[in-house]
C-alpha cells in the first residue's frame, strides 16, 4: 500500500472527508464545480468568491463620462487614421476601466478593439499563432494587480492605476469564440422562430 493510501486510510473520518472535499474545491474550483455544482454552491456560501482588486461600487458618473469622452476622442482619430501606438494603448486603458465598470459603449465593438490591438502589436492579431505576451511597460517595478479580458483570448495585465503592463494573446481562446458564436444565426432567418413552439415564454417576453 502506498504512503498516500495509508495516509488517506488514517484520515478517513468525518473531518478528513471534509478536508479532502475542501482541498479539491480549492485546488481546481472550476473542475470541482463541473462535477459537483450543488456542493460548490454550498461551499461558495461558506467561502465567498474572492473579488480581487475590483471596486465594488464602480465608477462615479463623472469618472465614467470622462473615460467615455476620452475614448471617443481617440476613436475619432482611428477613423481618420491619425492614431499612433501610444493613443491605441491609452484607448485600451480607457476600455479596461469601462469594461471593469461594465459600461463600455456598444459602439466600441470587437472590430475596433482588434484594430487597436493591431496598432499596438504592430501586426494583425490573426498572425499570432502561439501564446504570446507583449510587454508594454518595460519597467520591472510595475506590478500586475488585475487582468481584464478585452476579447476572448486577449487579456490585459494591469497595474493598480489601470495602466497596461502587458498583453497576453492566447490564439486557442480566440478560436473558442468562433465556436461559442456558431449557434447564433447570422442572417435574418425566414424560418419560424423557436418561440413559435413555446407559448409559455411568449407572455414573459411580451411583458419585458
Amino acid at each position: 500500500m502506498s504512503v498516500k493510501k495509508v495516509h488517506l486510510k488514517r484520515s478517513i473520518n468525518k473531518a478528513g472527508i471534509i478536508e479532502l472535499v475542501l482541498a479539491e474545491y480549492r485546488i481546481d474550483p472550476a473542475r470541482f464545480r463541473q462535477y459537483l455544482p450543488n456542493v460548490a454552491i454550498a461551499l461558495d456560501l461558506v467561502f465567498p468568491v474572492r473579488q480581487g482588486s475590483r471596486n465594488p461600487y464602480g465608477l462615479t458618473f463623472n469618472e465614467r463620462q470622462h473615460r467615455q469622452q476620452a475614448l471617443e476622442n481617440i476613436v475619432q482619430k482611428v477613423e481618420t487614421n491619425q492614431i499612433d501606438r501610444q493613443d491605441a494603448i491609452k484607448a485600451l486603458e480607457h476600455c479596461a476601466v469601462l469594461i471593469e465598470d461594465d459600461n463600455l459603449p456598444y459602439e466600441i465593438d470587437r472590430r475596433l478593439l482588434i484594430r487597436l490591438l493591431g496598432i499596438i502589436l504592430e501586426k494583425p492579431i490573426s498572425e499570432i499563432t502561439t501564446e504570446t505576451t507583449v510587454e508594454i511597460l518595460k519597467d520591472a517595478n510595475h506590478t500586475i494587480v488585475s487582468r481584464i479580458s478585452l476579447i476572448r483570448g486577449v487579456r490585459l495585465n494591469l497595474t493598480q492605476n489601470m495602466n497596461i503592463v502587458s498583453i497576453l494573446v492566447i490564439p486557442q481562446k480566440i478560436k473558442e469564440r468562433a465556436k461559442a458564436m456558431r449557434f447564433v444565426p447570422k442572417t435574418k432567418l425566414a424560418q419560424r422562430t423557436i418561440r413559435d413552439h413555446d407559448n409559455s415564454s411568449e407572455d414573459n417576453h411580451a411583458a419585458s
Binding site: 464545480r33 463541473q34 455544482p37 450543488n38 454552491i41 461558495d44 465567498p48 468568491v49 473579488q51 475590483r54 471596486n55 465594488p56 461600487y57 464602480g58 469594461i99 471593469e100 465598470d101 461594465d102 456598444y106 470587437r110 481584464i148 479580458s149 478585452l150 476579447i151 476572448r152 481562446k173 473558442e176 469564440r177 465556436k179 461559442a180 458564436m181 456558431r182 449557434f183 447564433v184 444565426p185 442572417t187 435574418k188 432567418l189 424560418q191 419560424r192 422562430t193 423557436i194 418561440r195 413559435d196 413552439h197 413555446d198 409559455s200 415564454s201 414573459n204 417576453h205 411583458a207 419585458s208
Partner: protein
Amino acid sequence: MPLPERILIDHSAFCAILSSDDVNHDLAVQVYERLIDREQEIWVASSTIIKVVNSLHREFGIQSLLDFKDSIDGVMNIIWLEGIIYRDALALAAKHAGNDVAIDDYITCIVAQRLQAYVFTFNSCLDKMGIPTLPR
C-alpha cells in the same frame, strides 16, 4: 456597476439569441458576445438546456441540436437541477401565490440566488423579484 463575474442565462435570452426576428435579438447577441469576450463564468440550468434543445430538435432537426451542444461545450457550465431546487422553487411559488409567475422563473430565481449570479434575461418578472439582471 462592476462587471458581474457569474451569469445565468435563462430561456428568454436563448430565445432572443436564436430567433433573428425576435424584437430583442440584436441586443441579446451583443450581450452574449460580450459575455464570451469577457470570459465571464456562464451558467445554464439543465431545465433551460432541455427546453432549448427540444425546440431546436423539433424546429431544425438533430444537426442543429448537435451544433448547439458543440457550440456551448467548454463555454457554459450546466447546473443539473436537484430535487432541493424544485422544492425551494415550489416553496417560493407558494409564498408568492397569486402572482402570475411561471414555476420556471421561480427555479431561475432560486438557481441565481444559489450561484450568486446575474441573470441574462428578457423576462421582467425576475427583476421584480429582486434578482440582478442583464441587460441593465
